[in-house]
């Protein structure tokens, strides 16, 4: 059993109350920080801990906080991105349901690091339960004196609100999320200016993922070295919530050290492959990552190792496909998602995702031609020039389909049908 940090208080059937959270050391980090640590020191500890953003991009959290200049104008904002909408990803929901005060404390600490006066949790409509839990627990935290003005007599004031989205995948993109929060059509914007300089209502704004924020109280309480030592591989830091789904016996969220092997996650923690299933491939970190095939079955799951192998850990939402799953069909399904969710703002993404979807549909339904393969590769390349990161994410499964499963694609074309359909 590995150390449980984020899931320390997790219970099978209910949320952790504020009393239980405090009995297990909750809000101690906040008290220590507000009493003894300067804003600069907080940022330094987070930086030293090498906390990489858990929302998929793995951007160093400490660097992001430092990007808010010391003399930046007020008010400053802290936004928690709880718009988890990438297929396969559900860790943030589980985290909020398990231990909401961990997120609240993390937000107050991150807020303090940039002297934000307001925090906003941007949450998707599918997580209405989580939104209600957060609203209730924010009130409780306020009554306990952890939120509001002059927190614990420190002179620091911070308030928290929950903002409900109307539901669109692009709202998870930082700049689109800011537009959504400001009541505009949530199209992405290209920086500069960066949100940390001019974000919400043109004020400095930091946006962090739920899991990233949840790590912060533990880092502040136990130190940067402790956090770094949690990981199994050199250079990696901390534990990670791996959300595993698909053809495994025990789909769910597991907190494991970064650097744990994929084979161990599947066989030991997720209960192995379902009866009669053999591992064929997985998407290691949500729908916008590349298929990991059998040759990577023993890979160490951390950001750098996957990057070195030409892959991305993303959100560590592992979706497992078995030998009976048609990879063309799976990729077509992923493209249907991306084509539906493209915000339509720029042509390469709006038209390209539809075009790829159409070609994959034709291949899957026995109307494919060999010439589609170079054509798909070409369109994928064009999509890298789209306005935001949505389109490069969308083509990741397609490109890896053509890299690792070209034989399967060709079988569809030659047999003029899906070989997996009887």
């Amino acid at each position: 059993m590995y150390p449980q940090v984020l899931f320390k208080n997790r219970k099978p059937d209910r949320i952790t109350t504020i009393e239980e959270y405090q009995q297990n050391g909750g809000y101690e980090a906040l008290a220590q920080v507000l009493k003894n640590k300067s804003v600069k020191q907080v940022k330094q500890v987070i930086n030293d801990a090498v906390l990489l953003g858990r929302g998929g991009a793995a951007f160093p959290s400490g660097v992001k906080l430092e990007t808010v200049a010391e003399n930046a104008p007020f008010p400053r904002y802290l936004v928690c991105n709880a718009d988890e909408m990438e297929p396969g990803t559900f860790k943030d929901r589980v985290l909020i349901h398990a231990d909401p005060h961990q997120l609240i404390e993390g937000m107050i600490l991150a807020g303090y690091a940039v002297l934000a006066e307001k925090g906003i949790i941007f949450i998707r409509p599918e997580y209405e339960n989580a939104a209600r839990i957060l609203e209730r627990e924010i009130d409780i935290a306020k009554q306990a004196g952890f939120l509001g003005s002059n927190i614990m007599g420190s002179g620091y004031s911070f308030n928290l609100d929950v903002h409900r989205s109307g539901g669109r995948y692009i709202c998870g993109e930082v700049t689109a999320q800011l537009n959504a929060l400001m009541g505009k059509r949530p199209n992405p914007k290209q920086p500069p200016p960066y949100p940390t300089e001019k974000g919400l209502w043109d004020q400095p704004t930091v946006i962090q993922n739920v899991e990233t924020l949840c790590c912060i109280p533990h880092i502040m309480k136990n130190g940067a070295d402790w956090f770094k030592n949690l990981a199994l591989t050199k250079g990696a830091a901390g534990t990670k919530i791996f959300g595993i789904s698909g053809k495994v016996n025990k789909p769910g969220c597991y907190e494991l050290p970064l650097g744990v092997r994929l084979s161990e996650i599947i066989e030991k923690h997720a209960g192995g492959m379902t009866a009669g299933s053999e591992f064929k491939a997985c998407l290691p970190g949500g729908a916008s990552t590349r298929f990991l095939t059998k040759e990577f079955y023993n890979i160490e799951m951390d950001f750098q190792t996957l990057k070195n192998a030409g892959h991305r850990l993303g959100t560590a939402a592992i979706m497992v496909f078995d030998h009976k799953t048609c990879m063309v069909g799976a990729t077509l399904n992923l493209m249907e998602f991306f084509a539906r969710e493209s915000c339509g703002w720029c042509t390469p993404c709006r038209e390209g995702t539809q075009y790829i979807k159409d070609l994959l549909w034709r291949i899957e339904n026995g109307q494919g031609e060999e010439s589609f393969i170079p054509l798909l590769k070409k369109i994928c390349k064009y999509l890298w020039n789209a306005y935001c990161a949505f389109a490069p994410g969308a083509v990741s499964p397609v490109e890896s389909l053509l890299t690792y499963f070209e034989d399967e694609v060709m079988e569809h074309i030659e047999q003029k049908k899906c070989p997996f359909k009887t």
């Binding site: 109307g166 539901g167 998602f337």
Partner: protein, 158 residues
């Protein structure tokens, strides 16, 4: 017309907000909740409350999955069709619902009770195949489970 109480509570929230525009989705959702969907009239009323041109709300309303610009049934069933649910039988769940309710995706039953809409990943991949009904999740679905859910909702609506 919106009931005075609802109108007043929304007005108060708008007045108290330092940035009223941030309430666009909240207001449209609350108005939609009252009417069942965001009709043209409801959209105009939302725009008036927020003091924004209706067209500005229209471009936001039509963007979001959970704002309905056309009438929907009392229960909106969102069937998750993303890759994990797809792998675990989402298509047969949708087919079963279509047969049972005698509608196609996007349609509403004759009695006005159920609307069926496909939706992107709802974040319950560990309990797939899963659906949302009025934002409440139902997972690990089987035809038998679906039958009892529909039955329960029908009784609740009586």
């Amino acid at each position: 017309m919106l009931p005075i109480e609802l109108k007043e509570s929304l007005k108060t929230r708008i007045e108290q907000s330092s940035h009223p525009k941030e309430l666009v989705v909240d207001v449209m959702m609350a108005v939609q909740e009252h009417y069942g969907y965001l009709s043209d009239e409801a959209l105009d009323e939302s725009a008036q409350l927020l003091n924004l041109p209706p067209m500005e709300l229209e471009e936001i309303a039509t963007f979001y999955t959970f704002i309905y610009r056309e009438p929907v049934g009392r229960y909106v069933i969102h069937v998750c069709d993303s890759v994990v649910c797809w792998m675990n039988g989402a298509e047969s769940i949708q087919d079963y619902l279509c047969r049972k309710l005698e509608i196609k995706p996007g349609e509403t039953t004759k009695d006005g009770l159920f609307t069926l809409l496909p939706v992107c990943c709802i974040g319950y991949c560990d309990r797939s195949p899963a659906i949302l009904i009025n934002k409440k999740v139902y997972g690990e679905l089987t035809p038998g489970k679906l039958d009892s859910i529909l039955e329960k909702l029908r009784k609740e609506a009586e």
